[in-house]
Symmetry: C2
Subunit: 272 residues, 2 copies
């Protein structure tokens, strides 16, 4: 079975188009770079049953990792932990380690003068109610801990929706685990800018070059242009040897650039 | 049954984090503004079986609309039509109307001097091979037509991934259909910027105000801040009377602003 990850983003703000899903892009890029394939991204709203359904469906596809974003905070609409508990058929349970993390955060806020005093109100304790058997993950910059839960072969990792907190937890605690699963695999990519040849004319050339270079994936991204045809050709490969990865992509790139130029098109290497 | 839509975005570039999914945000915002709820966004790669699975699962949730983006072009990795055909258990069939649209595009490109000549190559004809019974939708600025297919109570709408083409087809042909389904419903939203009160302290106040204003949805979006607590409170409602919608939101907003200010916090209306 191929190793892969899925991302589940929770938040009505994504479904009403209030914000762009930059969390999903950031995670997808990092996970891919770490050598693991992201197979699906699912975005759902702040509803326990919809979160539970999406997580259950994802579990059934047997990914190594499911990473969720959003819904870990103190307000009524932070429902990810409840949704995941429902997906795992278990109860929410107050976790002492998580409660201690939260308490220490508020103590520090008081020490720093950011708030005057604090109490462990029900809304704050809520952030420490984890699916039974789950564990909290240190949040280096925010209050709500991340959460991890194991279910059969899948590790569920729940991260906050605030991008800086999500990234800080990922970098500190999640990237090392993914790196271990992915081993030495490296993702390598490069793009060229192509002008003067329509995508439909390029299509059979791409077929040919991909056929000759079975480990290289080539994708064309057309650009709208008033004058001559314009598109980006993106080359990528995954290998456990970064030199091999670069050589593979380089060979495919040279081959297609040659044909494009012979047909009167112009190519230019794009900045990463 | 509540009316709702789902969005399915097809493209490896989204799963490797190469680009942000601005298409999903644009569509979600437009559909919401037109009065229809978007319940789920699914992102999958350029694989026929994964597209078919995602579309089949979406159909089972019985949305009024499934809008797909990406995968309609001439290259080997444009697989949306094949995936949708598999989901609908039907064959791909060359559609004369679609072929005529494509032919006319290339004729125009020749007339405009963008290309010298053209042939209806297999890669170009590919864009006219639609799931049996589906219909092409005029693409005002690109070559690949949009596609619509009816399946029981669901209208599937397939749009290209190039943002300008996706938007042009949506505005011209899809928005009017959604407007008709949604009727007079309007989505109304407004945000305030809140400083000086932590989200966890605000949480019970939001509960209270939402309880008193059952048609208003209030969501807090914390901001990372070095000094005082900082967040955005987003109010939204849907109504068939825009005046009622504004009044509802205004009442909830006044109520919560009062409490925040009494507790020493600061509020400020945010620009739309």
């Amino acid at each position: 079975m191929e190793n892969f990850a899925e991302i589940v983003c929770v938040g009505n703000e994504l479904l009403i188009g209030k914000i762009t899903n930059t969390n999903a892009q950031w995670l997808a890029k990092l996970i891919t770079t770490l050598g693991l394939r992201v197979r699906r991204i699912t975005v759902i709203g702040d509803y326990v049953d919809e979160i539970a359904t999406a997580v259950r469906e994802s579990i059934e596809r047997k990914p190594n990792f499911i990473i969720t974003t959003g819904g870990l905070g103190p307000t009524f609409d932070d429902k990810t932990l409840e949704g995941v508990a429902a997906a795992l058929n278990c109860e929410l349970e107050q976790n002492d380690e998580a409660l201690k993390m939260i308490e220490e955060k508020y103590e520090r806020y008081v020490a720093e003068g950011r708030i005057e005093t604090f109490e462990l109100t029900p809304h704050r304790i809520k952030m420490a109610k984890l699916p039974k058997g789950a564990r909290p993950i240190n949040n280096p910059i925010g209050t709500a801990p991340g959460v991890s839960a194991k279910h059969e072969g899948t590790l569920l990792i729940m991260l906050p929706g605030v991008p800086q907190e999500m990234k800080a937890i990922f970098d500190e605690s999640i990237a090392p685990i993914i790196r271990e699963i992915a081993g030495d695999l490296t993702f390598y990519e490069i793009s060229i800018d192509v002008r003067g040849i329509p995508e439909s004319e390029l299509a059979p050339l791409i077929d040919q070059v991909m056929n000759d270079n079975p480990y290289v994936y080539i994708k064309s991204h057309p650009r709208v242009s008033e004058k001559t045809p314009h598109l980006e050709l993106h080359f990528s490969t995954t290998s456990d040897d970064s030199k091999v990865a670069r050589q593979r992509v380089g060979k495919a790139l040279m081959q297609i650039s040659d044909v494009i130029q012979k047909k009167g098109g112009k190519t230019k290497l794009m900045e990463a």
